[in-house]
């Protein structure tokens, strides 16, 4: 095919961030009117690639053509001017503005003639077979309607390429159907569409071709007719290097520490029931937004369940705050260190000892710096925390050491139920191994451990038992021994 006939062509796109090579030398070509699915695990580089197209990131190398003309998207606005528009996962609408104003935001003339605007937007909405009054405020729209408005936005800017990042994440089956019809419709008018989705069937059903990304590289680019779901899964997973050896001897499970029955929270967790035993590591697998983190937050008292019960050591408990949870011996290492873990302006020592201030009492019940120093030193040594000094800002520690620090803080409270949410996120290779080793050790000391990770190999490597979550429900509870990566993946994806 000649490049002129292509709507969008990308050659050798590479983008790396400090420490990570997010997208490596990716080629992509879209015909006019083509619906092109982009699939891959979390962190396989889909979003990064799209953000390069939509002008949020500049590629380190590689070139992009639109209709055969080379372009260099500077910023979202510029990208839109070039004909590339992106629909983001989170809503991108201004609640107080009308649908029409939202659609035209940033592209309306200085003097907006309301009638004309409404008319032109209404035309687009009609074309989308989407009956909503352009004059009503965006605040009153539901999830599906919001997606429609996002599409309308894209059409309003006369886009040649529309990138859709998980447009169906929040939609019901019937809504998904309608959305797909619309997408096919607009594709028919010659617009090329990049469709990112974790719902593999959806992708296969909708798209003409599919590109599979794995660790930032193109694993395959085939037409959907030649693919079935299993191939797709296999392509996505590939042959991962096992980073830790599977435990040869299964830790033998002790008494039941936690049992939950029918936990519900908003629409994010539906009827989650499971139990956790002493001495075992349970992996909580699933996609981002599948409710893993939410379940953890319920267990740790960060959020309060709307329904269901939590039993700790077979006594029902009501966890109103993390403080309560700690009181019952449940400690959590949260996903985002910066917001929910570290106290950035404070020193390493202060960060370490914040949980055990009562132990630092010296003369007249005042904190004794000496005792603080030795306590902090003790924790630091125990975790082989490498820092030039305990007095420096915790900011200047590496990701790995920050994570170790938080684990250390978690352990000094001597909890027997530990929740690790993404324990190795943004952590350097050396530290990963250490952290994994630590988790195992804790388990062998009879703690009950819940590990959440988007990186399946990690789950597979660590856990004795795996819970797979999808759409807020626990869809599978299998022994790690007889679980295969593919199996888990295929349950995690729709």
């Amino acid at each position: 095919m000649t490049s002129a006939a292509l709507r969008l062509e990308a050659r050798g796109i590479t983008k790396s961030f400090p420490g990570v090579r997010a997208v490596a030398n990716v080629d992509l070509a879209l015909m006019p009117g083509e619906i092109h699915a982009l699939v891959g695990e979390n962190g396989s580089g889909k979003s990064t690639l799209c953000m390069v197209f939509s002008g949020i990131y500049r590629p380190d190398s590689g070139i992009i053509f639109i209709d055969g003309a080379m372009v260099r998207p500077e910023n979202p606005r510029h990208a839109q001017a070039l004909g590339i528009s992106m629909m983001y996962q989170e809503s991108n609408l201004v609640p107080e503005l009308t649908v029409a104003q939202n659609v035209a935001l940033g592209h309306d003339p200085f003097l907006t003639r309301q009638a004309a605007l409404v008319e032109s937007v209404a035309a687009i909405l009609r074309r989308l077979k989407f009956d909503v009054d352009p004059r009503m405020k965006a605040a009153t729209l539901g999830g599906a309607q919001m997606q429609m408005v996002e599409i309308a936005k894209a059409l309003y800017t006369r886009s040649k390429v529309i990138i859709m990042d998980e447009p169906t994440a929040a939609l019901s089956a019937s809504e998904v159907q309608r959305l797909h019809d619309v997408i096919r419709e607009i594709a028919a008018s010659g617009i090329a569409i990049i469709y990112i989705s974790h719902a593999l069937e959806e992708a296969l059903a909708l798209a003409d071709r599919v590109t599979v990304l794995r660790d930032g590289e193109v694993a395959a680019c085939r037409s959907t007719s030649e693919l079935c779901r299993e191939d797709l899964v296999h392509l996505m997973v590939g042959q991962h290097v096992e980073i830790v050896q599977r435990p040869t001897t299964r830790a033998k499970r002790g008494a039941e520490l936690v049992r939950t029955m029918g936990l519900c929270w908003r629409d994010r967790v539906r009827d989650a029931s499971f139990s956790l035993y002493a001495g075992e590591i349970v992996g909580l697998a699933g996609l981002i937004g599948s409710g893993r983190t939410e379940v953890a937050s319920l267990l740790a008292g960060i959020n309060r369940p709307d329904g269901g019960q939590i039993f700790v050591r077979s006594r029902e408990v009501d966890l109103r705050s993390p403080r309560d949870a700690l009181g019952h011996g449940i400690a959590i290492l949260t996903e985002n260190r910066k917001e929910e873990g570290l106290f950035l302006p404070l020193s390493v020592a202060h960060n370490l000892t914040i949980g055990i201030l009562s132990r630092l009492r010296g003369i007249m019940g005042l904190l004794s710096p000496a005792r603080e120093r030795e306590e902090a030193r003790a924790i630091a040594d125990r975790l082989r925390l490498s820092t030039p000094s305990l007095q420096i800002d915790v900011r200047s520690l590496s990701g790995g050491n920050q994570q170790k620090l938080l684990i250390g803080r978690m352990l000094v409270r001597e909890p027997d139920i530990l929740i690790f949410d993404e324990p190795t996120k943004g952590v350097d290779v050396g530290a990963i191994a250490e952290i994994h080793h630590l988790i195992r050790e804790l388990a062998s000391r009879g703690k009950g451990i819940l590990v959440i990770s988007s990186y399946l190999p990690e789950i597979m490597a660590l856990s004795d038992r795996i819970l797979v979550m999808r759409g807020g429900e626990i869809v599978q509870d299998i022994d790690a021994a007889d679980a295969s990566t593919d199996a888990v993946i295929s349950r995690a994806f729709v």
Binding site: L326, I332, E339, L344, P345, H350, L360, L366, D428, E434
Partner: protein, 337 residues
């Protein structure tokens, strides 16, 4: 530097080393900017004004900073907890009125009067804190409202016309008028409050939690700290300090009038912010606030000595505020961006 696992860390360590080397001086100067400014001021002024560097003058500088300083230390607690209080000036008026009222009823009830003021302040502080923390409305606007209420309450229910402290209440008046070995008592009070704040902030669990809550309320929650209680506690301390300031004020002049002097508000905020307490919580030291207090105090003193027109004084305050805050926010933005 043993046990550094990754190249990234080695690099970081190296940077740490370098900081000790060439850029050490700048780093040091950056850390001690306030101290340097203060020393520079002192040198400058003592060169310009022969009487500046005398014991007598410094007594005056400290004594006239006492009230502002006491409230400043109080306010810094609230600001470290990541909140704000605009009602302390009104609280000072109320507390002063309360203790004046008591001592006027019984001129020997010194202890009661001395305790009542700070106590009233603390109560007001708790109310403030509860309003802010429980409803979660903006502390700025909330405390503007409470300030109006407190002041009105004081004027309507506690105060009379010029409240004259009976001269017979000697021990009460001694607090603000007496002196030990030529050093006014109010200076000892200021020092006491400073010391207490230092201990509270650096040597107690409450202080640690305060910094933690201010630095990241969510992290504090997850770490299992009683964040709300801590924030209310900060307000309480602020109120109590305002109360102490009120008592000092009353006993220092032996009376209290309902004419409300708003300038205290600006002065205290200026001192605290110049002292390097961040608006965004988690940052601030007693040493810094003390320096801020001294810098502003010295400036005012010099301006009075030089007999500068009064209006210049408020402007200088404003400019200092601008510089201090501008720097704080700018650095913060650099870090965030």
């Amino acid at each position: 530097m043993e046990g550094l696992s990754t190249p990234a860390e080695l690099a970081r360590a190296a940077r740490f080393q370098r900081a000790r080397g060439a850029r050490a001086l700048f780093a040091w100067a950056g850390r001690n900017a306030l101290t340097l400014i203060f020393l520079a001021l002192c040198i400058l002024l003592s060169a310009a004004l022969p009487t500046f560097l005398t014991l007598g003058n410094w007594t005056i500088i400290l004594q006239s900073s006492a009230i502002i300083g006491v409230m400043g230390f109080g306010l810094s607690f609230v600001m470290i907890s990541g909140s704000f209080d605009l009602s302390f000036a009104a609280t000072m008026l109320l507390a002063g009125a309360v203790s004046a009222r008591i001592i006027m009823l019984d001129d020997q009830a010194t202890v009661l009067a001395l305790l009542a003021g700070p106590l009233a302040g603390a109560v007001v502080g708790v109310l403030n804190g509860t309003v802010v923390v429980v409803t979660g409305i903006s502390p700025l606007l909330a405390t503007i409202a409470t300030a109006m209420l407190i002041r009105a309450f004081a004027v309507l229910y506690v105060m009379q016309t010029w409240m004259e402290i009976p001269r017979s209440a000697a021990s009460f008046l001694w607090l603000g008028q007496g002196s030990l070995r030529g050093i006014p008592i109010s200076i000892f009070l200021l020092a006491g409050v400073a010391a207490a704040s230092f201990i509270l902030l650096n040597r107690t669990g409450f202080g640690r939690m305060l910094y933690a809550v201010g630095a990241s309320p969510r992290a504090a929650r997850v770490a299992g700290l009683r964040d709300e209680a801590v924030r209310i506690g900060a307000f309480m301390i602020c109120g109590a300090c305002a109360g102490i300031a009120g008592v000092i004020n009353v006993s220092s002049v032996g009376g209290l009038s309902a004419v409300f002097n708003i300038s205290y508000l600006y002065d205290v905020i200026t001192v605290v912010v110049v002292g390097g307490v961040s608006f965004f919580g988690g940052v601030g030291t007693v040493y810094g606030v003390a320096l801020g207090l001294l810098i502003i105090g010295v400036l005012k003193n010099a301006m009075i000595i030089l007999n500068t027109p009064y209006y210049a004084q408020s402007m200088v305050g404003g400019v200092f505020l601008l510089l201090a805050i501008g720097l704080d926010s700018w650095l913060r933005k650099r870090r965030a961006g």
